[in-house]
Subunit: 331 residues, 2 copies
């Protein structure tokens, strides 16, 4: 294992130290492992909290800021944050309008966020959870009952974040978040396994001539192991898997081609070229797009594709200003 | 070799197709291999052109847009673009105020940009070249006479881009670009070699327990091969190499911790934590920062650190609005 770390146990705390040093727009409580906006809670605005295991950066800490999250709580690598972290985050961002918990559908995350919501409720903070489950690859997996939550999390955080910024109430922001989740689908492919610092060896064996189709963001097994092939064929399997689950014909899409962490950007653009061609052939239009590393899996090579069937309202919210370390556009 | 590509010869053209499909803010001439702003030349503004071998994305195409470059010409992977590309780019962005060529110091780039400048001059377009040579690792290298141009290119493109946007004349924009280059230093470290699509095997052998200190962005040899070590020690070697060349004590710095392409963001933040601590111990202040993949080397794992000793004017230009695919902040 060759990693830019000091000790496996210190990775998350030291990364938080780095985030704190790099981003004055964020308030990083390294001890509590909670990242919030430097300005604190916004009075009258629904607070947005997300979190999950570390190793998926920039998710979630890189999405804290105007127009997106109010707080992120990173767990240890590939490990759910604890309810106390989530409670502290919830308290910090409560501006009197309630708090939305954006929860990727992994068993530990769901249970811990549920406990945090109850604790916050005891203190009089209204919390609504929205569970993200956009991955079409498998029904249940190693970490999940039901579908896994993956790339749609980025879309939900952005779009619900815009809705909250526009002072929509908690129920309405939660409805928007659910709508985005319901209209989104993802599928991932791994070329290599990832290595957690604590373990030090790849999480699974993937021969040099094989790829994992439908892989999860922790390297969980997908639908099948198959031979390595040109990216045009990988893109086809990926888009077909999504289209089989949610027909894309006639849709205006937000499309993300996301790198898993160790994939060069030039390859993601080659992949986007194929994804765009295939979507067009299916009668779908790419109205908005993202290409880059947004929800990663440590040093895994590979990609995931996430699509959202836009509506005019969702497009407007997507286009609304955002100012976070990892996603920014004009206000 | 496992890459998300179709055929090695088609990587650059297909990536340009992907960039075209993903970024309506850009005008991508796939045949000529030239990326410009969708709006074309800005009348009265100095045009900024950069370019170089592909494989360093988002450099340079990802930096085309308001407040930064007017055009980028990508060569084949790790291969200089040809003079014709640079000439077309120069013609496209000439708004009557002349054109700045931002050239990384590699022999092929320097010669070809020089030829393009002469051809443009024959057509009555005034061109001033600025050569970037910020890498302190080695004096000469495989691809370069003199120091290599690396991370400072990002700073020059941003800051000279802001100066041009403010309607400074060609000489003044070139002066700003040279000032940024002269006040910047870089040093890179590779944990793994990178593999070009055309070759298919790593460009050099790096044993599992060794790293290359002072590596170039094409995997050129650095100062020395040494044992793998904690990132705190890597950060120390890196910052010391820079500080030995240009004393940092008392400076206000713009600091970039840049991933080489296959390094997870969480590791870059761990590295930034150490870099920040070491810089502080040297009496320097981090006034601005960038953490992420900005000038990469395909699938190389590793990092580079680039620092710029800011002045109030340079800070103001750094903070000026920018709107490109890879670097954006508010206008």
């Amino acid at each position: 294992m060759k990693k830019l770390i000091n000790a496996p146990d210190d990775v998350v705390v030291e990364a938080l130290g780095g985030i704190k040093a790099a981003h004055p727009s964020l308030d990083v409580d390294v001890e509590a492992k909670v990242i919030t906006r430097a300005g604190g809670a916004t009075a009258g605005k629904v607070g947005l909290v997300s979190g999950g295991g570390s190793g998926h950066e920039p998710l979630h800490g890189g999405f804290v800021g105007f127009g997106m999250l109010d707080a992120a709580c990173p767990g240890e690598v590939f490990t759910s944050p604890v309810p106390d972290q989530m409670l502290i985050a919830t308290q910090k961002v409560d501006g009197g309008a309630g708090v939305l918990h954006i929860v990727k559908n992994y068993t530990g995350d769901v249970l811990n966020f549920q406990m945090a919501a109850e604790l916050a409720g005891d203190e009089g903070i209204e919390v609504v959870p929205v569970v993200i489950n956009d991955d079409v690859a498998v029904q249940d997996s190693l970490y999940t009952a039901g579908r896994r939550g993956t790339g749609a999390t980025v879309f939900v955080e952005k779009i619900a974040g815009a809705a909250a910024e526009q002072q929509l109430d908690l129920k309405s922001v939660a409805d928007v978040a659910r709508e985005v989740n319901e209209r989104s689908r993802s599928f991932g492919v791994a070329l290599t396994a990832c290595t957690t610092p604590a373990v030090g060896t790849p999480g699974f064996d993937l021969p040099n001539d094989e790829i994992e189709l439908g892989v999860g963001i922790h390297g969980e097994p997908g639908r099948e192991r198959g031979p390595m092939r040109p990216v045009a064929e990988i893109a086809e399997v990926t888009v077909d898997a999504i289209d089989d689950d949610m027909s894309l014909s006639g849709s205006e899409l937000l499309v993300m081609v996301n790198g898993m962490g160790a994939t060069p950007l030039v390859e993601l653009y080659v992949a986007f070229n194929d994804v765009a061609r295939i979507l067009s052939a299916k009668g779908a239009t790419i109205a908005r797009s993202l290409v880059g590393n947004y929800i990663t899996s440590l040093d895994m090579a590979g990609l995931s594709v996430t699509v959202l069937r836009l509506t005019p309202d969702l497009t407007r919210l997507w286009d609304a200003p955002v100012e976070t370390p990892a996603l920014r556009w004009g206000r």
